[in-house]
Amino acid sequence: MSLLEIKNAHLKLDNKNILNGVSLSVNKGEVHAIMGPNGSGKSTLSYMLAGRDGYELEDGEILLDGKSLSEMEADERARSGLFLAFQYPVELPGVGGMSFLREAVNSRRKFLGEKELDHLAFVKEARKEASKMFVKDEMLKRAVNVGFSGGEKKRFEILQMSMLKPKVSILDETDSGLDVDALKIVSDGVNSQRNKENAIVVITHYQRLLDYIVPDFVHILSDGVIIKSGGPELALEVEKNGYSGLINAA
């Protein structure tokens, strides 16, 4: 059974067709990359999966570990093991980084039937994980994403991913706004979490990120459908010839 199964997903926004029958199977231990030009529906796909209000499916189905997500709210999906790393992480003025992480982690632990971590145990765990992502203590004391640089925001996203231990992570344009050094730190963080039990879906414009997070499969999304799937070599083809050649051929 696939860990994430998207079946014939259709979605409209403002009466405009955005997703026109996306289907995708992601198995445990796999990394999939979804590439596509601007406006192909990539971010819509990630919001749809995460359960954002207004991004409900018109038709089709999504299953996470065999369970349908359609009837679940965003928070329930997250607690069930779906994680979305945002392209533009949202600033939360006044919400401290540490208490935000704790709220998130304990929501997931409660759902899994695990004991909630007390303050001390949590701080210890958070610091350990944070140091791996080069996230300084001082950053955890600040309000979530407020005044963070582009790199800090993305590192904080991946820190959340590492603490929440999701089954499936969707990384939406995680490379945007990152310089080479930051890209390496973030990619190392993602790679360190790859294991046989989870799966990662990387959504990106550029092949660049895929040099660091090497996918098992690459899919090209255009006009709300996957027009071609292949191995990592497909990303190189995009890099060389652009999307237009592939889209025209399809």
């Binding site: 359960g51 209000d53 709210e73 965003a74 928070d75 945002f86 600033e91 919400v95 935000f100 309000a143």
Partner: protein
């Protein structure tokens, strides 16, 4: 009928002043109070006193033996108490060296009245009624060069149903002095009309926190006039949470070059409460700074009003005036009104203002939801953060927890009731 009742209170006030001998300041003040301001008066249009004017109220005769068993513990190390609007030395702390607290004599009181009459609070009902009916005007003076380390806490309490209380205070910070003042309004009367004049002399600095937490039936019409001299500083924060109807009106005059003012406030309103933060900031000389952040959270059928005027006189070049107000409605039946006003007559100024009324931010809610935090909890987190963020900026670190808890108490009662 309504008219005669309105006159009724004016008559009570008049009768009250008759009992005093030749206290001319009371008579003068009394002459200027004919009736409650009506809805046609622009500054009262959003906060109408129709219900108040139909109530039968008379000015209280303070009971000087009365004690109140307050539940909340003191946060200041020096306490000043007003019960029924009267200063109570027996319940207050002794003043430290360099600080003086005494009542004004008749000629000083007349001077006090004249100062208020020159301000734009001259027609405010609390100016006229409280000066007519106050037991005495109390003056708190911090002497030149004295930096007071203790937190001063003024507690206003007492009052009775169908009666009005009239504490009147004069705070003067002499040159190069400083003070941290916390004022808590915990009245039980139907009407409270606190009046205050504050003068901050050259290079003096006042930190002020006001917490309005009167009884749930109380109308509080607080009026406060502030003068800032050269290079002086006022950092003021108000939390309005109690009462049936609370209007805190402050007029701040920056009339010394290089003075700085921060006039922040939060209102948390639920049920049928009406909360109003009205301010006017007058930049009359060059090189002054005023900053203002106002935030409101409204549930139930409550109403919030923010009226903020900033006037920059022609000579007040290089003024920096910033004003931002934001209200969050957490109930469909709550209402928020914001009326920012900028009047600028100088050319070289930086002035900005913004006012928004809305719901919680969808992106922020979704971000929390996407981390597994349920909607109710996400709302609570964002509302608390919305206020805490500002409390952090406005109050001393050591008072942060106290002020935040006061806000949290009010929030919890309105958040629980909302099931949006």
């Amino acid at each position: 009928m309504q008219h005669s009742l309105k006159d009724d209170y004016a008559n009570c006030v008049k009768n009250y002043t008759n009992q005093f001998k030749d206290n001319s300041f009371r008579k003068l003040a009394c002459n200027d109070f004919k009736s409650w301001p009506g809805p046609r008066e622009e500054t009262w249009r959003l906060s109408r006193l129709g219900t108040l004017s139909r109530k039968k109220i008379k000015p209280i005769t303070p009971n000087l033996q009365k004690t109140i068993n307050g539940k909340s513990k003191h946060i200041g190390s020096k306490i000043i108490k007003f019960v029924d609007g009267a200063y109570r030395g027996d319940l207050s702390s002794e003043m430290p060296l360099g600080v003086n607290l005494s009542s004004l004599n008749d000629s000083e009181s007349l001077e006090y009245l004249q100062k208020l009459k020159k301000s734009n609070l001259n027609h405010h009902p609390s100016t006229n009624v409280s000066l007519s009916c106050t037991p005495s005007i109390m003056k708190l003076t911090v002497k030149k060069n004295i930096k007071v380390k203790d937190f001063f806490e003024i507690i206003y309490e007492g009052g009775e149903e169908s009666q009005s209380v009239h504490p009147v205070l004069y705070v003067e910070l002499e040159e190069n002095s400083s003070l941290y003042l916390i004022e808590r309004f915990n009245h039980f009367s139907t009407l409270a009309m606190p009046l205050q004049l504050t003068e901050i002399r050259n290079k003096a600095s006042l930190n002020s926190i006001k917490i309005f937490n009167d009884n749930k039936e109380t109308y509080n019409l607080s009026a406060h006039c502030v003068h800032l001299s050269e290079e002086s500083n006022l950092n003021s924060f108000s939390l309005i949470k109690g009462g049936m109807f609370t209007r805190s009106e402050t007029h701040a005059y920056l009339n010394g070059c290089g003075s700085k003012l921060s006039l922040n406030g939060i209102y948390i309103s639920g049920n049928n409460q009406h909360h109003d933060l009205t301010t006017a900031i007058y930049h009359d000389v060059p090189d002054c700074i005023s900053k203002q952040i106002v935030r409101g959270v409204l549930g139930g059928k409550s109403t919030g009003v923010f009226q903020g005027k900033v006037r920059v006189a022609q000579d007040a070049q290089r003024t920096d005036g910033q004003q931002m107000s934001r209200a969050i409605l957490i109930s469909e039946n709550a209402n928020a009104n914001a009326k920012p006003e900028l009047e600028i007559y100088a050319d070289d100024v930086i002035c900005a203002h913004g006012a928004t009324v809305g719901e919680l931010d969808d992106d922020q809610l979704f971000y929390l939801n996407s981390r597994g935090v349920p909607m109710d909890k996400a709302r609570e987190i964002l509302i608390k953060a919305f206020l805490e963020d500002m409390i952090n900026q406005s109050v001393d670190n050591s008072l942060h927890d106290f002020v935040f808890k006061e806000a949290e108490l009010a929030l919890s009662s309105i958040i629980i009731k909302e099931t949006l």
